[in-house]
């Protein structure tokens, strides 16, 4: 991979730092008129998700990280891995639990998601912002109760538990915001 100097650092650039791939979020050039120049750089470690600020001497270089964001189709999971397919090439990738993290709660078969590859292996997986999933378990619906505003927990096919309105029943398909884990609305049955 190419090396990048601090003056080339841009938000979105992926670099290697302390052995881990990192995403550059911000880069600020700091220089007293009569003093030494620094770059104050905000980074996110793509492995751990940790976000922090590191100061470099201006002109220092970092190696680029072989990190790519791809849209892939989620296929299935076995006991160990989650499998994804690149729709154009049909190439398949397996992601381990560390890469998938909590995203498994929102992975629906044949649904597109964003897979970040590091050296050709999935590093992280991001589900679409909204998914439609079926409820497999919830307390019986209170028919017609659309006004009280109460909620109850409902378990989805993926194992995720979301709060839903009282009138929703098992077997129904609901739309969920994966970023907050919140119920949005009832979806038509798939």
């Amino acid at each position: 991979m190419a090396n990048y100097s601090t003056s080339e650092f841009r938000s979105g650039m992926k670099v290697m730092l302390d052995g881990d791939p990192c995403n550059i979020l911000e880069n600020e050039f700091v220089k007293p008129g009569k003093g030494q120049a620094f770059n104050r750089v905000k980074l996110r470690n793509l492995k751990t998700g940790r976000q922090w600020e590191r100061t470099f001497k201006s002109g220092e270089t970092l190696e680029g990280a072989d990190v790519m964001d791809r849209v892939m189709e989620y296929l299935y999971n076995d006991s160990e891995f989650w499998y994804f397919m690149e729709p154009d090439t049909f190439e398949q990738y397996q992601a381990d639990a560390a890469a998938v993290g909590d995203s498994y709660l929102w992975l629906k078969e044949n649904e597109k998601c964003d897979v970040t590859l590091y050296n050709g292996t999935p590093l992280s997986v991001a589900p679409p912002n909204f998914v439609e999933l079926e409820i497999v378990e919830t307390d019986p619906g209170l028919k017609g109760d659309t006004a009280t505003g109460g909620t109850k927990p409902a378990k989805l096919t993926t194992g995720a538990v979301v709060k839903v309105p009282l009138f929703i029943s098992t077997g129904e398909v609901i739309r969920v915001d994966t970023r907050t884990g919140e119920y949005q609305n009832r979806a038509s049955k798939s």
Partner: protein, 307 residues
């Protein structure tokens, strides 16, 4: 914005003409650059008029001091200056400097005048003054003149993540100053910092203050931004030559190129520079402050990436 810049320039000129300070112009292309290891000039390297490459000025300081040595009158200049590698939200490699010199002034008198000028531009604010030492003692509980490099590094590492950064005392002082202190300075005030460590005196007189040698240099900070840098000027040619040589030695140590020493300036100092103070103020940053923007690009008609 172009109107605000025009108004600022004319009010600056009025400020100086009211005080009988003469406007001058000096060359942008000079045969010697600056030895300061933290400033890199740009070089113009080809053309029929050039027997050797010339440096675009990083400030009009040397030429203005030659004028002072020749005429002894207070002078000012609004000049373009160029510094290689300085680009960011507060830096453009080409920028405008307002520089002025006051024969007979000490650096505290000049600070007073700087405050008056800035007040005339951005309105009244209280003026604060801290010595460099006071600032470090109050905010970081460390004496910048006596702390060891290791102590300063440990302090920096407690507050910041400088990775594998390595260097001498001044690197850690600069890091602490620019990352931890500067952002807090001049919050609603005009904040002057004065009397710098000798290693950062640059072209300032060195005196003894409270048992330590300090450079009679000052900086002005407003809303966390460095706006001006001034000195009670060094007038001793031999001492100046030694500092140039020390700069060059430091340059070689850091793997930078040596710079030719400005013999014209040294000759002028030998001829006799009146005791004086001088200051350089960033005009673009002043305009940023007046228009409430944090990006220098907003006050430039065409920034570095668009010209």
């Amino acid at each position: 914005m172009i109107r605000q810049r025009a108004e600022l320039l004319s009010s600056l000129r009025r400020f100086f003409s009211d005080r009988d300070i003469l406007e001058v112009e000096t060359p942008l292309l000079c045969s010697s650059g600056i030895t300061d290891p933290s400033i890199e000039p740009l070089l113009v390297s080809s053309g029929g008029a050039l027997s050797q490459p010339r440096f675009l000025q990083t400030s009009p300081e040397y030429a203005m001091k030659r004028m002072l040595a020749a005429h002894g009158q207070p002078i000012f200049q609004v000049a373009r200056a160029f510094r290689d590698g300085e680009a960011g939200s507060r830096h453009n490699p080409e920028f405008s400097l307002l520089e002025w010199y006051r024969p007979g002034f000490g650096h505290h008198e000049l600070m007073q005048e700087v405050a008056e000028l800035v007040q005339a531009c951005v309105g009244p604010r209280p003026v604060e003054k801290y010595s460099y030492r006071q600032l470090f003692l109050e905010h970081l509980d460390v004496d910048p003149h006596t702390a060891t490099s290791a102590e300063l590094e440990a302090l920096a590492r407690r507050h910041l993540d400088p990775g594998n950064l390595a260097g001498e005392r001044d690197l850690w002082l600069d890091l602490l100053m620019s990352h931890l202190l500067e952002p807090r300075l001049g919050d609603g005030t005009f904040c002057f910092v004065y009397d710098y460590p000798v290693s950062q005196a640059a072209l300032a007189q060195v005196v003894n203050a409270d048992g330590v040698s300090v450079g009679q240099r000052f900086e002005l900070y407003v809303d966390g931004v460095e706006l001006a840098n001034g000195y009670c000027e060094l007038t001793d040619a031999a001492e100046q030559r030694q500092r140039f040589e020390r700069d060059n030695a430091l340059r070689l140590e850091r793997g930078q190129q040596e710079r030719p020493v400005d013999e014209y300036l040294l000759a002028a100092l030998a001829h006799g520079l009146p005791s004086c103070s001088g200051v350089a103020l960033g005009v673009d940053r002043l305009l940023m402050l007046m228009t409430g923007t944090s990006r220098i690009q907003d006050v430039l008609a065409f920034d570095w990436t668009r010209c």
